[in-house]
């Protein structure tokens, strides 16, 4: 009985991915270092990837894993462009918090 209860079902994985997504959201809302905000976005993307893989196994459908592959490619491109923008902005200034980027508005 207890052994049957201790087998992780799809709901366990999905709840774990929801918690991971919530932690990432909290980090994006609270942290002020742009690099750490990017890391929190990576946490959220990983939560989504985890739920995709879980549902792919649960629905017995390979397309979920295919979409995770594309999400990884787009995440890599996003990190490259975002870090390039951060490098371009931070080259002429020493402060590194997101609050100092208020001059970006027109």
């Amino acid at each position: 009985m207890i052994a049957a209860l201790l087998v992780p079902t799809a709901t366990w994985y999905l709840v774990l991915s929801a918690i991971l997504f919530g932690i990432g959201t909290f980090g994006v809302l609270v942290r002020r270092n742009p690099l750490v905000m990017f890391m929190c976005i990576e946490l959220m993307l990983n939560a989504v990837n985890l739920s995709f893989v879980t549902l792919a196994r649960e629905l017995n459908d390979i397309n979920g894993q295919t979409i995770v592959f594309f999400v990884m490619v787009v995440a890599a491109a996003e990190v490259v462009v975002g870090l390039g923008i951060i490098v371009a902005i931070m080259r002429n200034r020493s402060s590194v918090t997101a609050d100092d980027l208020i001059e970006l508005n027109g």
């Binding site: 932690i23 809302l29 609270v30 270092n33 690099l35 990576e42 894993q65 295919t66 990884m72 080259r91």
Partner: protein
């Protein structure tokens, strides 16, 4: 056994994620991110997604975290951020409410909608070590190069545009730099 694997991986993921948002040093946050990414890779293996687990370790833990650490060292921004002060009043309580509400909504949707999950695909092949073929990788390749071949080609364009854009962004233009220095 699967419970043990799930428990260890979930512990790794949650400790790493909490480390990312609580460590004040950016390098420590990046190393906590590695822990989370490895935990997700373990769960990928536990769910028969072997190719994605390998790509997760190579691309995320290998390339992206190294890129983060490289930028941290390049910019010299590895200073400790003061997390005690709260620049905006009531920002953190509101953020806690928002993230807990998001988790609550998602968990409620997962628990109530779990009955709607029915097998509908054509099946996921599980690698068979006795025959020596990695069926999961083969099946994923067939899916990418047949159904999603256009999207795959478009991602190559995306990567080229990203690389060229980053080079343009981070390059210091000589004429403009000379004019501003006059």
């Amino acid at each position: 056994m699967e419970f043990f694997v799930f428990g260890c991986a979930a512990l790794m993921i949650l400790i790493g994620a909490v480390g990312v948002i609580t460590r004040s040093h950016p390098v420590h946050a990046a190393l906590s991110l590695v822990l989370t990414l490895f935990g997700v890779a373990v769960l990928f293996v536990a769910q028969e997604a072997h190719f994605l687990a390998a790509v997760q370790v190579i691309v995320y833990a290998g390339a992206i975290v190294v890129l983060f650490l490289f930028v941290i060292m390049l910019l010299g921004v590895d200073r400790v951020e003061n997390l005690r002060t709260e620049p905006l009043t009531a920002q953190r309580p509101l953020a806690i409410i928002v993230s807990l509400g998001l988790i609550g909504i998602l968990v409620a949707a997962f628990t109530t909608g779990s009955g709607a999950l029915h097998e509908r695909g054509e099946g996921i092949n599980i690698p068979d070590l006795t025959t020596g073929t990695d069926a999961n990788t083969t099946q994923l390749a067939e899916s990418i190069f047949s159904d999603y071949v256009v999207a795959f080609e478009v991602t190559s364009v995306l990567l080229v545009v990203a690389v060229v854009g980053t080079v343009l962004l981070s390059r210091r233009i000589k004429s403009v730099a000379a004019e501003t220095s006059k």
